[in-house]
C-alpha cells in the first residue's frame, strides 16, 4: 500500500488550485496555520474559502489576496475584536473584492454534515427571526412531508479540498485527533480531497476503540508539520498563544504593518519551522 506521506508544499501544490473551494477547519483548536501560510507562499488566487470562524489564518489569506469568496458564520478575533483584514476586504474591497456567503454556526455545521453524508442539502430548524435569509439566497426552506412544518434548508458544503491539522497519523494515512473537534470530521468527509498536517507520523496509531480517526481512504495526503497549528493549539502538545491573538490586533490594523509582518515572517520563511524561528527572533 502506497504511503500518503508527503511534504506540505507538495500537498498544497497538488491539491489546492486557483479558484478552488477550500476549507481549512479547526474550531479554535487545531487550526492549520502552516497550510494556510503555504497557500499564501504559493500565491494561490481566487479561492472560495470556507470556515465557520475565519480566525487569523483567513485574515492573513484574505489580506494577502488569495480569496474572492468567503463562506463563514462568525468572523472575529475571538475575545479580542475585529479581523481587520477581513473587514477591510468587506468594507473597502482591499486588496480585492470579497463576496460573502454568511450563515450561522448551526447552518454551516448542518451543511458540512450533509456534505459528509453525500446529501445535496441539510434541514434545520434554524435562521428563525434573523435577517440572514434576506441577504443570503442559499438559505431556503423545505416543508416536512409528514407534519407540514416549514424548516430552513442550506446546500451541502463539499469543498474541493479540506485541510486539517491533527495530533498524529500513521504512514498509511490514518489520522487520529482528540480534544475540541468542532465540525472537522464532517468537513473532512465532505471534501473531494483531504490534506492533513500532523504533529507526528507514527508507525501505528495508539489503540483507541472509539477514538476520533479519519480513515486512510478518505485522506489524500499527510504531512508532518510540528507546530503546524501555532498560534492556535494542539491538545497535549502546545497551548493556544492567546497573547499572540491579542498582538495580532495591532499587527493587522493597518495595511502597511500587516504586509510588512507577512513579508518578514511568512513570505521570507521557506517553511513553517523557519516561520516559527522568525517569531522567536522578535520575541
Amino acid at each position: 500500500m502506497r504511503s500518503k506521506v508527503t511534504t506540505l508544499s507538495e500537498a498544497i501544490a497538488a491539491h489546492v488550485l486557483d479558484g478552488a473551494c477550500v476549507a481549512l477547519e479547526g474550531f479554535t483548536h487545531l487550526i492549520p496555520f502552516a497550510a494556510g501560510h503555504e497557500i499564501i507562499r504559493q500565491g494561490r488566487r481566487d479561492l472560495h474559502l470556507v470556515r465557520m470562524t475565519p480566525d487569523l489564518i483567513y485574515d492573513q489569506m484574505i489580506g494577502m489576496g488569495c480569496a474572492s469568496r468567503l463562506t463563514f458564520s462568525w468572523g472575529g478575533n475571538p475575545g479580542v475584536g475585529s479581523l481587520h483584514r477581513l473587514r477591510d476586504a468587506v468594507e473597502h474591497q482591499w486588496p480585492a473584492p470579497l463576496a460573502i456567503d454568511e450563515h450561522t454556526h448551526a447552518g454551516v455545521a448542518a451543511a458540512y454534515s450533509a456534505g459528509a453524508a453525500g446529501l445535496p442539502f441539510a434541514t434545520l430548524r434554524g435562521y428563525l427571526g434573523t435577517d440572514l435569509p434576506s441577504v443570503n439566497p442559499r438559505i431556503r426552506s423545505v416543508d416536512c412531508p409528514f407534519t407540514g412544518e416549514r424548516l430552513a434548508a442550506v446546500p451541502a458544503l463539499n469543498p474541493d479540498v479540506t485541510i486539517l491539522h491533527a495530533q498524529r497519523a500513521d504512514r498509511r494515512g490514518n489520522v487520529a485527533m482528540h480534544g475540541i473537534v468542532g465540525a472537522q470530521r464532517e468537513a473532512a468527509f465532505a471534501a473531494r480531497a483531504l490534506i492533513v498536517t500532523v504533529e507526528e507520523i507514527v508507525e501505528e496509531l495508539p489503540p483507541a476503540m472509539n477514538g476520533i480517526v479519519l480513515p486512510h481512504w478518505i485522506v489524500s495526503a499527510v504531512a508532518q508539520c510540528r507546530g503546524g497549528a501555532y498560534p492556535s493549539y494542539v491538545h497535549d502538545h502546545y497551548a493556544r498563544d492567546n497573547s499572540f491573538y491579542q498582538r495580532w490586533d495591532a499587527i493587522a490594523r493597518e495595511r502597511d504593518g500587516f504586509l510588512a509582518w507577512m513579508n518578514r515572517h511568512v513570505l521570507a520563511s521557506r517553511d513553517h519551522a523557519t516561520f516559527l524561528a522568525s517569531l522567536r527572533e522578535v520575541a
Binding site: 458564520s73 472575529g76 475571538p78 430548524r125 492567546n242
Partner: protein, 261 residues
Amino acid sequence: MSDWTRDEMMTVAAARQLRDGCICFVGIGLPSAACNLARLTHAPDVVLIYESGTLGTRPDVLPLSIGDGELADTAACVIPLPEVFGYLLQAGRVDVGFLGAAQVDRHGNLNSTVIGPYDAPRTRLPGAGGATEIAAHARQTFVMLKATPRSLVAQLDFRTSGGFLEGNGARARTSMRGTGPQSVITDFGVLQPHPASEELQLSALFEGTTVDEARAATGWPLEVAATVETIAPPTKIELETLRALHARTREAHRRPVRLPA
C-alpha cells in the same frame, strides 16, 4: 463612590440570574465571566456548555476564545459541534442561553452582524456564530451589554438573532422553541419584557443608578415597570471571586507560550 465598578455589578447581577443545576449555553466575553462567577459562588452544579462542544466545563481561568484548551481539559466531555447545535440546542435540551450583542432593540432582538447597510457596512461585526439558534431554542435567554443609545437602539441595523420580533406574541407564532430574552442585564440595571407587549422595560436598578440615567442610556423611550427593584450590591464573596477570576485570567493570557519546536 462605591467600592465596585458598574462592570463588576453587571457581571454579578447577571450571575445571580442563573439557578443552580441549570443547563447553560455560554457566549464568550461578558456572559462567560458571569456564568463562571455563578458556578464559583451560588451555582456549583450549573452545567456550562460552550459551543466548541465542551460540556460541563469548569475552567480555572476565563477562556479568551470559545475553544481554549482549558475548556476541554476541565469538561465532563467534549462532543462534535454538529451535536451541540443539533442534539442539545435544537432539540430543546438547553435551559438558558447567555448572549452578548452589539445592539439590542426594544423587543429584545439582537444585532451582532453589521453597523450600517449590509452591502456597504460602516462596521462589519463578527456575525451570528451560535447566537441565532441560541436565541431561538434555549428555553430562555439572558442578554448582557453595556448600555448606550447606540447599543440599546430603536431600530437595529441588522437583526442577527430574534428576541420577541415585533412583540405582542409574534415570537410564539414562529417555530422558535424558547421563550425569548427574559432579562437584559446592562451596566445600570436590568430590563425585562412586559408580559403583553413584550417590550423591554426597566425592572431593576443597581444601587446608585437612577431611572433618568437608564433612560439616557436607552435609544427608545424606556418604560418603567410597576415596581423597580434595587439590586443589592455585590457581596464580598462575589467581588473577591470575580476579581480573583479576572486576575488569574489576565495572568494566564499574558503568560508567554513556548513556541513549538
